[in-house]
């Protein structure tokens, strides 16, 4: 039983770990209730690592319905969100705590 768990966990790590190393990294910054850039080009068909930085004094929540992502970004903090592999197209994301703050991932 124990062995099976160890196996399962090491399998999960083996699958998850290379993702950290090789994926393209894209940085999005929150400033004055704007995403910079607000149109974010990303490669389609591969996993992408988004680094979302919050340079505001207020907490934000990076969220996207089409990407199924929601994650709190503390004031002055930074989070990592993996997305993809995506089909080509536009994917909207927003700050759930300030609903007018919106941007798009453009997968090409």
């Amino acid at each position: 039983m124990m062995r099976r768990w160890v196996l399962a966990i090491s399998f999960v790590c083996a699958v998850a770990a290379p993702a950290l190393a090789d994926d393209p990294v894209v940085t999005i910054t929150l400033k004055d209730h704007q995403f910079v850039p607000s149109e974010v080009p990303v490669p389609a068909g591969v996993k992408v690592q988004l680094q979302v930085k919050n340079e505001q004094q207020v907490t934000a929540e990076f969220e996207s319905n089409s990407l199924h992502r929601e994650k709190i970004v503390n004031a002055g903090g930074e989070i990592t969100v993996f997305v993809g592999p995506l089909d080509p197209g536009s994917y909207e994301f927003f700050d759930d705590f300030h609903n007018d703050t919106r941007g798009h991932l453009i997968a090409k």
């Binding site: 993702a19 319905n65 199924h68 994650k71 709190i72 903090g77």
Partner: protein, 285 residues
């Protein structure tokens, strides 16, 4: 003030709907008010704790701590709601049959109200910690002044509680003998929806495959961000653009809890249908 009210309302809404359903589901049970309010209080305390350690949680598990934490809370709540439902499918019939008798108090004492209280605590903790983080953020930034924040927060809280109260009164207007059936269906759908949310967090943490990132898109009919969309999201797990893995977890939860309820319920019916002179409990269906 208004943005604060809206955000607080949204977060309170989800927890309040769950509390409303749980209160209706436990109608007639001994000391349920104490259990549920205890759950709410524990949830509020927990929310402050989680908010205080938000940065630590977020940094855990190589930056995926938030996802694992949220998923853990959601699946724990699914387990609690499921456990209570399965227990009720075994004993609910006799509880309903003796609802107006004195002995009911003793029998309902064994009912796992702690499971409902725990589920309430988890819901309040999850939504509450977001409120605390959000309010703490605007308090630090000094946006609009403390009075506007407090008033906005209170308006949001009041509206959310009103929604939870509305669903409670709607449910308890259902006749007692039907109430058990209706609330156990509601709790079952609620649990399935929470499991699908949990799956989304594990997918976000890269621990589960998406199995198709958007199977369909009904956002033109009902957006996730509309009020009705949010209410249905909590009640039945509505998502305009579900991922395959969410559907799998939704269906598995329905089958697992629903199956156990049927299994346990039918063996109970069998035991009662044996001629023992007392035919007060008649197998339904």
């Amino acid at each position: 003030m208004l943005p604060t009210a809206i955000i607080v309302f949204r977060e309170v809404l989800e927890a309040a709907l769950i509390v409303g359903i749980v209160m209706a589901a436990s109608r007639g049970a001994l000391r349920r008010g104490l259990w549920v309010s205890g759950g709410i209080a524990a949830g509020v305390l927990g929310a402050c704790g989680v908010a205080a350690f938000a940065a630590t949680i977020a940094a855990a598990a190589e930056g995926m701590g938030q996802e694992l934490f949220d998923a853990g809370i959601l699946f724990a709540a699914v387990g609690m709601l499921g456990w209570h439902n399965v227990w009720m499918s075994r004993h609910g019939r006799e509880l309903a049959a003796t609802a107006l008798q004195l002995g009911n108090a003793v029998k309902s004492g064994a009912r796992p109200l702690w499971a409902l209280a725990f589920a309430v605590a988890l819901a309040v903790l999850r939504e509450g910690s977001e409120i605390v983080l959000f309010l703490y953020g605007i308090a630090l930034a000094g946006q609009g002044g403390p009075l506007a924040m407090v008033i906005g927060g209170l308006i949001g809280l009041a509206l959310g509680v009103a929604a939870g109260t509305a669903i409670y009164w709607g449910l308890v207007s259902i006749p007692m003998r039907l109430l058990f059936t209706v609330t156990s269906w509601l709790v079952l759908l609620l649990a399935a929806g929470l499991a699908s949310q949990g799956a989304a967090f594990l997918m976000q943490a890269d621990l589960l495959p998406s199995l198709g990132s958007n199977l369909w898109d009904t956002s033109f009919l009902l957006s996730d961000q509309s009020l009705a969309g949010r209410i249905l999201h909590t009640l039945i797990g509505y998502t305009a653009q579900p991922a395959g893995i969410q559907l799998v977890f939704y269906a598995m939860t329905l089958l697992l809890i629903g199956g156990l309820m049927r299994l346990v319920g039918s063996s109970e019916r069998l035991a009662h249908s044996k001629p023992q002179g007392d035919s007060a409990v008649i197998p339904a269906e």
